[in-house]
Amino acid sequence: MNGMLVLPVAIPLITATLALLFRKSSVLQRWFGVLGMVALLGSAMILFRDVYTDGIQVLQLGNWAAPFGITLVADMLTMLMLGISAIMGVVIGIYSLFDIDKERERFGYYPLLHILIMGVNGSFLTGDIFNLYVWFEVMLIASFILLALGNSKNQLQGALKYVFINLFSSLIFLFGVAMLYGMTGTLNMADLAVRLPEVENTGLVTTTAMLFMVSFGIKAAVFPLFFWLPASYHTPPVAISAIFGGLLTKVGVYALIRVFTLLFTQDSTHNEYLHTILLWVGGFTMVIGVLGAASHMEFRKILSFHIVSQIGYMIMGLAFNTAMGIMGAIFYVLHNILAKSNLFLISGIAQRLLGTFELKKMGGLYRHYPFLAVLFLISAFALAGFPPLSGFWAKLSLVKAGLSIEQYVITGVAILVGLLTLFSMTKIWLSAFWGTVPEETPENFGKIKLFGAGQLYILVIPVMIIAGLIIAVGLYAQPLLELCMTAAEQLLDPSVYIEAVLGPQ
């Protein structure tokens, strides 16, 4: 038992409550917004040490023994995800200080941000499939409001699509949970992993697996269920776009990894096509996403389509179903959260300087703001997989995993998509950074300094932190790769997880 396990959920809740209580004071809101995230990061680091030294940590909430109560479980995958979500929380917390206007602040931006992070952390921690559904809902409700907050027309348009498609996906999720409960009489994931292989009607197990695949697939925005994402993610303020684009879809990927390594394995479904379907889905997601990105000319729309494309890589790693593949997928998730959020944050700075997100109306950033250009290059090259940045190791391990089990076609596709990613990043580079300064640019363009009186440094510092992390992960990849390998090995041997939750069998 590890009582600390509740902290990644409790700290954001306490912060949100206090921020709500002192909602009149803008100063307190901001302090709570950042300090809460820092405390969260601290708790994640302490927990990480426990998991690293002592293996999987378990907490039975309310002292109700598993499988009857709700269990919180932290294995290496959980800890890596919690760590990255806390880092993103801190960074977005700082970025929001300047990016979020007074009006949104007054309507509870900071409490909502913390509730969102609470939902994300809860999803990572829970060891109960129904509880996972609840955390998804917590996360979704907070994200609905964050997306719609501000009430502009295109925001509501985007939010409406987002709300409907996600409610639909939750409904499918709930059906799946109900079917699991009907078949096995339990909702604890470890207990489910024990009982599912004993279910005689394997067809029904496969059906349930497909329900989960569709539901989490919608949340993760995989082909052909991704269309809601590019339609909504470019509408809210950049800080919100960044946390959505970086973190939220990856919760779907996390759920897919968890469910397809713990519950729906070869033992329980007796169906070898499941991972083949995932492989196809992954392949199509990569290609369609990157083609979508190549065809758009709006900064954040390009980035949104890239989210879709990158999700494909993660699904591909999961579909390989080997330690190497899953390790690659986990590493890819971590790297992608960093690189993708950073690009969103940079798009926000560019928009502040040039007054638009339309690439055709942008230009001259390289000439007047070379430092910003360097930050963009680091993130964009990381996304495309240039050595020695983080993306290189992510792609390398996936390609290696693919070649070692002789999946040549999909591996080839993955490499090709990497090139196309570079193409659309070049498109942003050519027009926004290298292009000539457009005529209708705001007057003070080039005159405000990044670290001058305009307080723009509040936006630049988070970007620098993430860029630093990207370089650090790239140059010093081995420790993180080893951690991802530990996570993958834990996932592929569910008996450790089951024993940690239910005790020795």
Binding site: G3, V6, A10, L13, T17, L20, L21, L59, L61, G62
Partner: protein, 137 residues
């Protein structure tokens, strides 16, 4: 709404409704009832008052801003969960305190605190919604 019947009835009803909601709340300790249903009836009382006398008057009667109610409620939820952690037991474990007065005994517990939190959240939430709808129209 200007109606003599409604005004008179509301004045009579509101006390009864609040008492009834508290009754439901404490009954939930051992029998059907509890924070949620009690909170709903309590919110019903203020909704009725808002319909009869308008939201401005209701805000004055309520004294505390509904969103403050929600946040205090949430805070007591968290605190009730955190208390057992100080005696090294998992989050949300029920802790009980029995006080014997002689004539009647009192049972204080973290579930009670949790239920108070639920009550406040429900009242705060529903009153917020009703106020926004009333003021919009």
């Amino acid at each position: 709404m200007k109606s003599l019947i409604l005004h008179t009835a509301t004045r009579l009803m509101i006390g009864v409704l609040v008492l009834f909601s508290l009754f439901l709340f404490f009954r939930g300790h051992d029998e059907p009832g509890g924070g949620f249903i009690g909170g709903l009836v309590g919110a019903g009382a203020f909704t009725l008052y808002a319909i009869a006398f308008g939201t401005e008057a209701t805000r004055k009667v309520l004294r505390i801003h509904p969103i403050t109610l929600i946040s205090v409620g949430l805070l007591s939820l968290v605190v009730s969960g955190l208390i057992p952690m100080f005696v090294a037991e998992p989050f949300l474990t029920g802790k009980w305190l029995f006080i014997e007065w002689g004539a009647f005994d009192t049972k204080l517990s973290t579930p009670l605190l949790f239920d108070i939190g639920v009550y406040l959240c429900v009242v705060g939430f529903i009153v917020t919604v009703i106020f926004s709808l009333e003021e919009e129209g």
